[in-house]
């Protein structure tokens, strides 16, 4: 196994919360540029995995290697600085600020050597933020307070903020949850469009199997803390265990 090909490797990850096993010997290798979706019912361990990759949780055993560097014990800030960004199931945005200001904060956090005598609203910063807003088709919402914005726009802004720093890996935690079913596809299209053109590795958690099939080139299925299938959509969605434990249930899911 040559490690150099993989941008992210999870090796032998175990994690339990009391009696609940959230990760059971998880081994995942991800190549640069892959678009990977994580599927599984609630509590299967997808979000726990994401939280461990981004440093919010520490695995009990095992290690997480990013670009040949062990990041298992780093905190979320250091991991973000190394090049792994994430979005959240419930958008974590700064409510009293405008969308534009939210992105300004995101941009500010990605810069070094701040001056205390230079306004954050400089011309260079403004231009870059306008460009991001454009990529995510958010222009019309730029100067509105984000607490008033509709759910889908909030989701997009949350992702846009994660992307400002130009990460190498982007983790999206249920990008379409909390959004009406007719809005899901336009939302995913906007996200896909915004992420295209960069050799970005994307890992996302998703419950909608149509979206999973359409927007990812690899699927990893979780069940009660273990990976039960890993491969392209045909292999994984055709897998009998996946049918029994994952997709079978999602049809019962009420949207």
């Amino acid at each position: 196994m040559t490690s150099t090909n993989y941008i992210l490797k999870a090796e032998g990850i175990n994690k339990s919360f009391g009696a609940v096993i959230a990760a059971n010997d998880i081994n995942i290798n991800i190549q640069s540029g892959e678009k990977v979706s994580l599927i599984g019912s609630n509590g299967a361990g997808k979000t726990t995995f994401m939280n461990m990759v981004t440093g919010y949780l520490k695995p009990d055993t095992g290690s997480i290697i990013f670009e040949n560097e062990d990041i298992t014990q780093l905190n979320p800030r250091n991991i973000t600085q190394k090049g792994i960004s994430r979005s959240f199931q419930i958008p974590q945005i700064f409510e009293p600020m405008t969308a534009w200001e939210n992105l300004l904060v995101a941009l500010g956090t990605s810069q070094e050597n701040h001056s205390f005598f230079k306004s954050a609203r400089s011309k260079e910063n403004s231009e870059y933020i306008d460009e991001i807003l454009n990529r995510f088709s958010l222009n019309e919402f730029a100067h509105r307070q984000v607490s008033e914005l509709p759910g889908g726009v909030r989701k997009l802004l949350d992702i846009a903020m994660a992307l400002v720093r130009k990460p190498k890996i982007l983790l999206l935690d249920e990008p379409t949850s909390g959004v009406g079913s007719e809005e899901k596809y336009p939302l995913m299209d906007t996200i896909a469009k915004a992420l295209s053109g960069e050799n970005l590795t994307v890992i996302f958690v998703e419950h909608d199997m149509d979206i999973v099939q359409n927007y990812s080139d690899r699927i990893i299925a979780f069940y009660s803390g273990s990976v039960i299938a890993d491969g392209n959509s045909k292999e994984v969605l055709g897998d009998s265990k996946v049918k029994e434990y994952v997709t079978g249930k999602t049809q019962l899911k009420v949207n």
Binding site: N51, Y56, F88, I90, Q92
Partner: protein, 299 residues
């Protein structure tokens, strides 16, 4: 040597008992209403003043001396009955659910008001009501003499703590209060009248503050400014024990009581700030206090 240790221990226990009764009310109110009540010290002072007023009246009516405790209890009750609706219903109610620090500031404002209310009612005079302190005589322990009343305070503190703990854990209404502490929203949905629980909890807290004042009155000269030190001392206790915890208040009061008694006898220079040191030290090493688990943050 042994006498010295015993003295420190008993002095500490008496001081801790007094502290505990004040802190018990403070921590209980915080537990239920999530309010760190600076005005608690003001209620304490009102309890002391009302006892200083009622006890002489009690004697002048020619009542039996031994029943003076009833007058003291009554004065504490009266203070709680008067102060609770004004503070909880009229003022604090407006701020539920808001930032904890903002509510602290509101109670600070109420504290300021209570300070002057005391001056308006009782003036700048000092009151002495040492008579109740004599009803239990003195207790001889080897070469040491202790006033029986002082030692009885230890019993009162134990009684107050147990009474509150048992009524919370063993009675139906106590369990409702525990449910509200745990999750007010869900309790509200289940049909619990939250407003009533808050009012009752505040009443209990105010009663303990006033009770501590009432029973301290015979030990001190009741005068302007007695509340100011109580505020910070009881804060220190609940911070050390963990906000909202009754066992925490026991431990916190014992730590401060013993540390202070030890300082009085061995290192008088440190007496004034030993409790603040205890509080700062506890916050540094265990910020949530001894009896409060870490709260998980969800994302």
């Amino acid at each position: 040597m042994f006498d010295e240790i015993l003295t420190i221990f008993l002095d500490g226990a008496i001081y801790a008992s007094w502290l505990f009764i004040v802190a018990l009310g403070l921590t209980f109110v915080f537990g239920v209403l999530k309010i760190l009540n600076i005005a608690h010290g003001g209620i304490y002072a009102l309890g002391a003043y009302s006892t200083a007023t009622l006890v002489p009246i009690f004697y002048s009516l020619g009542m039996p001396e031994e029943l003076v405790v009833l007058a003291m209890l009554f004065s504490a009750l009266a203070v709680a009955i008067v102060i609770t609706p004004i503070m909880e219903r009229v003022i604090l109610r407006r701020f539920y659910g808001q930032d904890e620090v903002l509510i602290v500031l509101v109670t600070y404002a109420i504290y300021l008001v209570l300070e002057d209310v005391q001056k308006i009612i009782w003036g700048m005079k000092s009151f002495y009501v040492s008579e109740p302190r004599e009803i239990l005589g003195a207790v001889e322990m080897g070469s040491l003499y202790y006033v029986g009343y002082d030692l009885a305070l230890i019993g009162l503190a134990i009684f107050c703590g147990l009474a509150l703990w048992l009524s919370l854990n063993k009675t139906k209404s106590g369990k409702i209060v525990l449910a509200v502490i745990h999750n007010p929203e869900i309790s509200g949905c289940m049909g619990v009248n939250i407003n009533k629980v808050y009012l009752a909890a505040f009443f209990v807290g105010a009663f303990f503050a006033a009770l501590a004042g009432s029973f301290t009155a015979p030990l001190i000269s009741v005068q302007v400014g007695i509340s100011v030190a109580v505020v910070i001392e009881s804060f220190a206790v609940v911070i050390i024990g963990g906000l909202g915890s009754i066992p925490g208040a026991v431990i916190g009061a014992l730590i401060i009581g013993m540390a202070r008694a030890a300082c009085v006898h061995k290192l008088p220079e440190a007496e004034i700030f030993i409790m603040y040191l205890c509080m700062a030290g506890m916050l540094i090493f265990r910020p949530k206090g001894l009896f409060q688990g870490a709260q998980a943050r969800k994302i």
